[in-house]
């Protein structure tokens, strides 16, 4: 899939938007567990909902290197917003990559404009890391399909208008496009998460949802290695890039606090043990950014090595973000323990990043498996 790439002006615009407009609202959105209509509208104005869609549909048509930078900047400001954006973006991208001409024509423009938000529906109560265990079913009928099942922790589910649902069809796991309002579809918003609290997740109950034949996206029975895996690859890159953003936010906050907080007759930043924390954060930030850049470059080249590179980036960046956020809270002392402080929010958000899009333990298993396979 060719794209028009990402210009330096785009990158500057992403940075300014995140720093000047989104970051100041992050604590409020976190507290209220929702993203305001004004922020959603701002993402529409800046065409970020169409980051991976072509210009003719109203999108930005970013390459993956640009997408990673965008998600680093948004993640630096607010992990909840980044989560909303990536859930939507991978639905839009999956339709672009795997959809037939009619599906692309029907859905691309409303998704690019943000008039319609996408939700990626894979996880079930008993199928998280083990996606092959999913139990939602798609039964063929004379008129198309009927979907039954229960999906959980669907990022953005509370406000999404189009769900990409994975279900077990007679020929194997397949992907289906389910519009909000479809008979038998019930959306149940969830609140009270540890982190990414403003990502407006929901559970979905599908009770004999009737779908037209054209709801099937991609090859029937081969949805896992195609639609699911390719979308998750982009999701994982976004999480990794977002974690670089968390790392940078922790580093920035820690440098500010260390420079301005007096401790006895010295500034906090003059203590060697504080400097050790800063050194670790700075090094992890740079290393995670390099790993993300490499994964994005390989994804742009459609290189089979992109999959393992993206795992490595996600594994390193998410665990490093958790370490950095813990250090940032420690370095801030009591000031880092308030609900609205940047380190506290980063600490809660970073932990979520170690769980979503493949937990740390799953990443360790697959990275080791790949390493054994690649040994010559």
């Amino acid at each position: 899939m060719t794209t028009t790439g990402t210009s330096p002006a785009d990158l500057t615009a992403f940075h300014r938007l995140a720093r000047d407009e989104l970051a100041p609202l992050a604590a409020e959105m976190d507290a209220e567990e929702r993203v305001s209509r004004a922020v959603l509208a701002r993402l529409t104005e800046t065409r970020l909902w169409g980051a991976l869609l072509p210009a003719e549909a109203g999108g930005l048509d970013l390459d993956m290197r640009g997408f990673a930078v965008l998600h680093e900047e948004i993640g630096r400001a607010c992990s909840s917003l980044r989560s909303l954006l990536v859930a939507h973006s991978i639905v839009a991208w999956a339709i672009r990559r795997w959809g037939c001409a009619e599906q692309v024509s029907s859905w691309s423009a409303p998704l690019a404009s943000g008039r319609l938000l996408g939700g990626f529906c894979l996880t079930e109560p008993d199928a998280g890391s083990d996606a092959a265990a999913l139990t939602a079913t798609a039964t063929p009928t004379e008129d198309g399909w009927v979907l039954d099942g229960h999906k959980t922790w669907i990022t953005g589910g509370a406000i999404a208008g189009l769900f990409l649902v994975f279900a077990r069809a007679p020929r194997g796991v397949s992907a289906f496009l389910v519009a909000a309002g479809t008979p038998g579809l019930r959306v149940i918003p969830r609140t009270g998460l540890l982190g990414v609290r403003a990502s407006m997740p929901a559970d979905l109950e599908l009770d004999a949802c009737p779908l037209r034949p054209e709801a099937l996206l991609g090859p029937e029975g081969f949805g896992m290695p195609t639609v699911m895996m390719s979308a998750l690859d982009i999701g994982r890159l976004s999480v990794a890039a977002g974690c670089v953003g968390i790392l940078q936010a922790c580093l920035d906050a820690s440098l500010d606090h260390a420079a301005n907080r007096r401790h006895g007759d010295r500034m906090l930043g003059d203590h060697q043990l504080v400097r050790r924390m800063i050194a670790n954060m700075a090094t992890d930030t740079a290393a995670a950014r390099l790993l993300c850049g490499e994964a994005a470059r390989l994804q742009d080249a459609a290189d089979p090595g992109a999959i393992a590179a993206t795992w490595r980036a996600k594994y390193f960046a998410s665990t490093a973000a958790t370490r950095a956020a813990a250090d940032a809270v420690q370095l801030h002392g009591a000031a880092g323990c308030t609900a609205t402080s940047v380190p506290a929010r980063c600490y809660r958000d970073a932990k979520i990043m170690e769980i979503i899009e493949g937990s740390t333990e799953i990443q360790q298993l697959v990275i080791a498996h790949e390493a054994y396979g690649e040994r010559r």
């Binding site: 037939c100 081969f222 999959i307």
Partner: protein
């Protein structure tokens, strides 16, 4: 063409699974090589290496089952590209 395509595919599968010998007719599912991850890597490899786009109706397990089947899949797509070229 067939030999070159088959050689590239065979070498990719051998490298990924560290096997020194692989017959073109060997069912790689039966060897336990295929899972969702490797299937995705195969699709990426075939599309990237040979400059093709595999249509949805060709993305079935039987087309990835052997080196011979994958070679046939690639050659059908290459023929489509050739036919549609000006």
């Amino acid at each position: 063409m067939t030999t070159a395509v088959a050689t590239d595919i065979r070498e990719f599968v051998q490298r990924k699974h560290r096997v020194s010998e692989l017959e073109d007719s060997t069912d790689i599912f039966a060897l336990g090589f295929i899972n969702s991850l490797f299937a995705m890597q195969l699709v990426l490899f075939l599309e990237n290496r040979f400059g093709i786009r595999i249509p949805n109706d060709e993305l079935v397990l039987d087309n990835l089952r052997t080196v011979t089947a994958m070679t046939g899949l690639v050659e059908r797509q290459l023929a489509t590209v050739t036919r549609s070229a000006p």
